[in-house]
Point group: none
Chain length 225, copies 4
DNA sequence: ATCTAAACGAGACGGTACGTCGCGTCTTTCC
DNA sequence: GGAAAGACGCGACGTACCGTCTCGTTTAGAT
């Protein structure tokens, strides 16, 4: 998919009056991205974007509902690179590769935008939905290809839901990315994928005879984390 | 005692002037929590807290650098319950229990504060650090007890780092919580823990003969029984 | 036309963006004046002006450096009447007339603003300068016409500086206005002008040899008035 | 005319080990005066006074209703010199002398406090009253002695009220002091006293036959200054 | 060759929250 | 028991960014 989009019906050829300025649009997205390399989304103001893009603030708000959406567009347009979908023949290796490259990118200046979007989404559900639709699901769909291959090859247990699989692989890294605990390098990525594939359980462990399940849920305390 | 407060050295008994008003402090924290039950952290204003607490805005800013910190204190002070550390005899069950209760809480009104804190932290590194120190690590330390028991009993592979284990278990849920994709109910929690313990890998899978790949998998001891 | 306004070059016809809202400006000045009729300048807040004018506080601060300047503008804009320059044929009568009307006005609610401006000027030299330029000198120029006529007619000694003349006439009243000692009615105005014109000196005074003092002070009570 | 300073316990001989209170009081007044030499009354804060005096803010407010009153006390206590009441044998000379010294003082750093008090009084009637009673009337009483001598000697017309006389002499200078128009040097003082004594009226001027007085008051416009 | 609708730049605007400052009061401990 | 230290409620300050709204200016299809 191209870096830009024309959500607007590209078919309708001629409208009355002056057309939307492509220069303005491009300038806005470019300026936004440049500013976001230096400051967090929160600190980048609509005014700064307008100023740097040589554009009126009204032009921004004419085409985007708020600056988060501008940023999302800028991010999507600017991140031309295709989602890496390695095909090494081994799902585990595929995921390892991808997690490494993903971690490397998310740790970069621009990559941290991912976190900012998640953050912004916490107080703007509409934006979060948009982020999921336009960004997250695209990545997940691509990742699911790797998963599916793994299942088909018989590498991955078919009983586990694909979304669960993806969350198992990406969740830990994203958690670390957001909370800032734990390191984020290649070996961590490897270790995570290895652990996720291998499972925590010791293969030679024998479950002791299970007792009657007691009413844990009844006495369940309000626990956190 | 609670996990929180008295940042101030409680030992030093007497200071010169008028003491910090405990009423004011309590009122602020209480008011903050009440407001946060209804509005997102972003929408709760310092002024609203002051008004509801019957307190001057200056008093708030005297003791806290910003409202996020107030909210963190309010959250920590308000959540007096201990971290649930179930001890069913099985680490897997322990984690399942805990993940269920955690999910239930984080889905609740107040529980969503967790997300807001993470969000706030994305544009305020100092706050994020504080959040980690005062909230996250405490929870993780508690959770590590369950993990350690599992390792000692021989349930959990000892080769996997404890932090990785925790991130594997909690990461997926927290990812879903933040990004809003995927459901968050008890059966999901169960599925995740099951998958994390069991691993993705099909036990009867035999890796095909490898070509020139690096020997990551080579040094991995895989004794499938 | 009024003595004020359109500090901005009224000639230059078209500026690029949205023009300054005349409604806002008028509303601000009007609201300020209305508030000043009830409260002292010190007690009138920028917020109250904004509220009453239906205007944003930022709009006020965009065009005026502080509320004193707003008040000065409001005063000047609201006091559209020309300076009274009576022309009775007699400078003494002219000044008497003017002093009476001036005293009457300065004693009124809005007139007391004069004092507030002077007061404000004591801690804000820039404002005081502005007050002089835009208010005081205009009035004095007008009053000097009366003085000049008096000099030309041969009524007033030409050896006395015009500014001294004005200060002699207005100084006493303004002193009383500000310090609050002494009454401020028509007869006082008359008495002052009479005394200023006639001078303190007894025309038939001959410097005598020094004598003993007599207890005249007994018949004059220490009345501070 | 060293009108000031050495508040320092020049007089405190009593080693009667009385309470700290007198020391505190002295320190407060001294600190206030020192601060007022640098900043306007408006800008000197109660806290700054307390800090500099090594005194608690409460102590200040225990003895004074507000900081203006402290400043007034400080001023009165610091200005130990007696009011200069020259007695040259000529009232005109007396007044000239006094006006010169008064102008010199009021133009000085500390002397400008006079203006600040007047200013403060415009929004605090109680303070203004206090200022009149404790400062102004004392000066005026002293000045009246000079006036009375002039009347008794036959220098000054006895038909003019003493207060009018004082306002005629001091009003112009105080007006200039407050509004900042016009210079304030010795020759101006001389010119003013000369003019006030001599009167504006040209001695050889003959009033033309007066016409019937027309209803000036009826058509009197709202004039200013 | 106009006419006219749309998009644009510039930038003023209402609104809302911010974090700070000074006042004068109140509370606690120390001397 | 009076004073220091200093926290407090109050209320105004001036700033910042939001997203909206005119303006007058361009652009380009429609007439």
């Amino acid at each position: 998919m191209g870096q830009l989009q024309d959500l607007e019906y590209a078919d309708e050829p001629k409208k009355r009056g002056r057309h939307r300025s492509l220069e303005a649009k491009t300038a806005i997205l470019k300026a936004t991205l440049q500013l976001l390399e230096r400051e967090s989304l929160r600190k980048v103001t609509a005014e700064a974007i307008a100023r740097r893009a040589g554009v009126s603030k009204a032009t921004i708000y004419k085409w985007w509902p708020n600056k988060s959406m501008v940023a999302l567009d800028a991010y999507l347009a600017g991140t031309t690179e295709r989602v890496a979908v390695p095909d090494t023949g081994s799902a585990e290796e595929d995921f390892t590769e991808q997690l490494k490259s993903l971690t490397a990118f998310y740790t970069s200046t621009l990559g941290r935008l991912f976190c900012q979007f998640i953050a912004e989404g916490q107080s703007d559900p509409a934006f979060l939905a948009s982020f999921r639709e336009r960004f997250l699901y695209a990545r997940r769909d691509a990742a699911k290809i790797m998963w599916r291959r793994g299942v088909e090859r018989g590498e991955i247990r078919s009983t586990i839901d694909g979304d669960v699989v993806l969350d198992m692989i990406y969740g830990p890294i994203i958690f670390r990315l957001l909370a800032g605990h734990g390191s984020l390098n290649d070996s961590e990525s490897e270790a995570i994928v290895e652990a996720v594939f291998g499972g925590l359980r010791r293969s030679d462990y024998q479950k002791p005879a299970k007792k009657k399940k007691t009413g844990h849920s009844a006495k369940r305390p309000k626990a956190h984390l």
